[in-house]
C-alpha cells in the first residue's frame, strides 16, 4: 500500500516538475524544478530497490551537475522579450522534433514488447543475484565482465577533461602567481633587518 502511494507520489511529482522545467519563465526556476525532478527520480530508484543508483543520482546530478547549472544560469543576463520573439518562427521545428521523439518512444515500447534484446554477453545460466547488495553486484559487473569498457570510458573522460583544460588554458605573461613554497620558506631574517640610523639620515632600503 505505502509503496503504491509512494510510487504515484514520486511519479506524479517527477512529471509535474519536468513540465514546470520547460514552462517556467525564469531559467533559475527551471533549474530548480529540474533538481526536484532528479530528486523524485531518485525516489523512484529507491522504490525499485536500486538504492545505489538513487544515491549516485543525487550525488552526481543534484549535488554536482545541477549546482554548476545553477551557477551558470544565475549569472546569465537573459532578455525574456527577445527569447519569446522566436517562438512562432521556431514552432514548426519544435513540433517536428516533438513528433520524432514521440515516434521513437512508440517504436521503443513496441520493440520492447516484441521481445527483449540481449545486451552484453551474458549467458542463460547467469541470473541476477538478489541476495547480493546493489553495490557488490554493480561492482562485480563493472570490474569483472565490463572491465575494459569501463576503463576505456574512464580514459575517454580523462581525455575530454584534458582537452577542455587545454582549450581554455591561456598562459598569461603578465600574471604574477604566488609561490606558496617560497612564501613558506621565507624567514624573518631574510626580510627584515634592524638598523640604527643617524638622526636626519634616513634608511637605505
Amino acid at each position: 500500500m505505502i509503496q503504491v502511494l509512494a510510487f504515484y507520489l514520486f511519479a506524479a511529482l517527477t512529471i509535474a516538475s519536468a513540465v514546470l522545467v520547460i514552462t517556467s519563465r525564469n531559467p533559475v526556476h527551471s533549474v530548480l524544478w529540474l533538481i526536484v525532478a532528479f530528486f523524485n527520480a531518485a525516489g523512484l530508484m529507491v522504490l525499485v530497490g536500486a538504492e545505489f543508483i538513487a544515491m549516485l543520482l543525487v550525488i552526481v546530478y543534484v549535488g554536482a551537475v545541477a549546482v554548476l547549472f545553477l551557477f551558470v544560469v544565475m549569472m546569465l543576463d537573459i532578455d525574456f522579450a527577445s527569447l519569446r520573439a522566436g517562438f512562432v518562427k521556431n514552432f514548426p521545428l519544435g513540433l517536428l522534433i516533438a513528433l520524432v521523439l514521440l515516434a521513437e518512444l512508440i517504436f521503443g515500447i513496441g520493440a520492447y514488447q516484441a521481445g527483449r534484446i540481449e545486451l552484453g554477453t551474458g549467458t542463460a545460466d547467469q541470473v541476477p543475484v538478489m541476495a547480493e547488495s546493489n553495490i557488490a553486484a554493480i561492482g562485480q559487473l563493472l570490474y569483472g565482465q565490463y572491465l575494459f569498457l569501463f576503463e576505456s570510458a574512464g580514459i575517454i573522460l580523462l581525455v575530454a577533461m584534458v582537452g577542455a583544460i587545454v582549450l581554455t588554458l591561456r598562459d598569461r605573461k603578465d600574471s604574477r602567481p604566488q609561490n606558496i613554497g617560497k612564501q613558506v620558506r621565507r624567514r624573518p631574517q631574510d626580510a627584515t633587518r634592524n638598523v640604527k640610523p643617524e638622526i636626519g639620515q634616513g634608511v637605505q632600503l
Binding site: 500500500m1 505505502i2 533559475v28 526556476h29 530548480l32 533538481i35 538504492e51 545505489f52 544515491m55 549516485l56 543525487v58 550525488i59 543534484v62 549535488g63 554536482a64 549546482v67 554548476l68 545553477l70 551557477f71 544565475m74 549569472m75 547488495s133 546493489n134 553495490i135 604566488q178 606558496i180
Partner: protein, 347 residues
C-alpha cells in the same frame, strides 16, 4: 523499535510508521536542544580563548542565553525585501534547516540504534551533504542583492571543491571497513589498533586522511577559517544579509546542526563512533551513546578552537588547498590504501 509497537497489538505497517515518527522525534528534539547548548558552548570557548567571560547573564552561568536569543529572534518581524524573489527567499532557509536534519537518519547512536539502517548509509550522508549548498545558493540569488549573490557564488564553488576530496577520503574508510553501512563501519573499528584502540585514527594510513577530513569538514560547513560565504569584513553577512527573524534563526540552527553532524561523522568514521576509545571491558559500562556524545563534543571543541585561533583564508588560498593539495593527496591515498589492502587481505 517497531517490534515494541507490534507487541501493543498494532499491525506491521502502523507499528513501522509509529516507530519511525518516534525515532525522528527522538533524534530531532534532542538535536535542537543540543544545538542550543552547543551555541552557548561555542561562545563560552571562544570567550575563554579571548580572555572574556562570554554569555553569563541569562540563567545560571548564562546557560539559557541561546533560548533568550531564540525568543528574541522569534518575536522579530520577518522582513522580505521588495526586490527579492519571495517564494525562493522563504524556501531557502527551510531547505538549509531540513537538509541539516536529514543526514542524522543514518548516524548510529548505539549498536543498532539507528533510524535508517540502510546499506548505502555513507553514500546517503554524502548525497545529503551535497544538497546543503542549495540553501545558501538559493538564498543568495533570491535576495537580489549584491553581497548575498557573491556569497552564493563562493559557497557553490567552495562546497563542491571540498566534497570531491571528502568523497575520496570516505572511499578509503569504506575500503577498510568493507561496507557502506554506518553501523558496520563502526563495528569494523573494534580493536583496530593492536586489538586495543577502537578507531581508524590509530592506523598510519588513515590518520592523515582523518586530518584532511577534519579540515575539509571545516570547509564544508563553512566554519572559520573557511567562512568566506559570510565573511563579515567583505560581504556584510554573506547570504544571510537580507534575512531576519525566524528565517535567520533557521540558518543559525541549520548551520550548527551541520557542524554537529560533521563532528559526529568524524567520530563515527575515524574514532569508533559509539565504541569506547579503548577496548576494555570496564569502559563498556558507559552506554554507547554517551561515548558518541563525548566524541562529538571533543570534535566540536576542536572546531571552536580553530575558530578562535586561526585567521580567515583568502578565497584563492581556499581553492588552492582544495584542488591542488587535498585532491591529489586523497587520490594518492585511495591508491595507497587499496594497494595495501590488496597486499594484506587478498595476497
Amino acid at each position: 523499535m517497531s517490534e515494541t509497537f507490534q507487541t501493543w497489538g498494532l499491525t506491521y505497517e502502523w507499528a513501522w510508521f509509529l516507530a519511525t515518527v518516534a525515532g525522528i522525534l527522538l533524534i530531532a528534539l534532542p538535536l535542537m536542544l543540543a544545538v542550543a547548548m552547543i551555541i552557548y558552548a561555542d561562545r563560552k570557548i571562544w570567550a575563554a580563548m579571548a580572555l572574556r567571560k562570554g554569555p553569563n547573564v541569562v540563567g545560571p552561568f548564562g546557560l539559557l542565553q541561546s533560548f533568550a536569543d531564540g525568543l528574541k529572534v522569534f518575536l522579530q518581524e520577518t522582513i522580505v525585501p521588495s526586490a527579492a524573489n519571495k517564494g525562493l527567499f522563504l524556501i531557502a532557509p527551510i531547505i538549509t534547516f531540513t537538509v541539516a536534519l536529514l543526514a542524522w537518519a543514518v548516524i548510529p547512536f548505539n549498536s543498532g540504534a539507528v533510524l535508517a539502517d540502510i546499506n548505502v548509509g555513507l553514500l546517503y550522508v554524502l548525497a545529503i551533504s551535497s544538497l546543503g549548498v542549495y540553501g545558501v545558493v538559493i538564498a543568495g540569488w533570491a535576495s537580489n542583492s549584491k553581497y548575498p549573490f557573491f556569497s552564493a557564488m563562493r559557497a557553490a564553488a567552495q562546497m563542491i571543491s571540498y566534497e570531491v576530496s571528502i568523497g575520496f577520503i570516505l572511499i578509503c574508510v569504506v575500503l577498510y571497513a568493507n561496507s557502506f553501512n554506518m553501523n558496520a563501519i563502526v563495528e569494523a573499528q573494534r580493536g583496530h589498533g593492536l586489538g586495543l584502540v577502537n578507531g581508524y585514527w590509530f592506523n598510519l594510513l588513515l590518520f592523515p586522511l582523518w586530518v584532511m577530513f577534519l579540515i575539509s569538514s571545516l570547509a564544508e560547513t563553512a566554519r572559520a577559517p573557511f567562512d568566506l560565504t559570510e565573511a563579515e569584513s567583505e560581504l556584510v553577512a554573506g547570504y544571510q544579509t537580507e534575512y531576519s527573524s525566524m528565517a535567520f534563526a533557521l540558518y543559525w540552527l541549520g548551520e550548527y546542526a551541520n557542524v554537529l553532524l560533521m563532528c559526529a561523522l568524524n567520530a563515527v568514521l575515524f574514532f569508533g563512533g559509539w565504541l569506547p576509545p579503548l577496548e576494555l571491558e570496564i569502559l563498556y559500562w558507559v552506554p554507547g551513546w554517551l561515548w558518541l556524545f563525548a566524541k562529538i563534543f571533543f570534535f566540536f571543541f576542536i572546531f571552536s578552537w580553530v575558530k578562535a585561533t586561526v585567521p580567515r583564508y583568502r578565497y584563492d588560498q581556499l581553492m588552492r588547498l582544495g584542488w591542488k593539495v587535498f585532491l591529489p593527496l586523497s587520490l594518492m591515498f585511495v591508491v595507497l590504501v587499496s594497494g595495501w589492502l590488496m597486499f594484506t587481505r587478498y595476497g
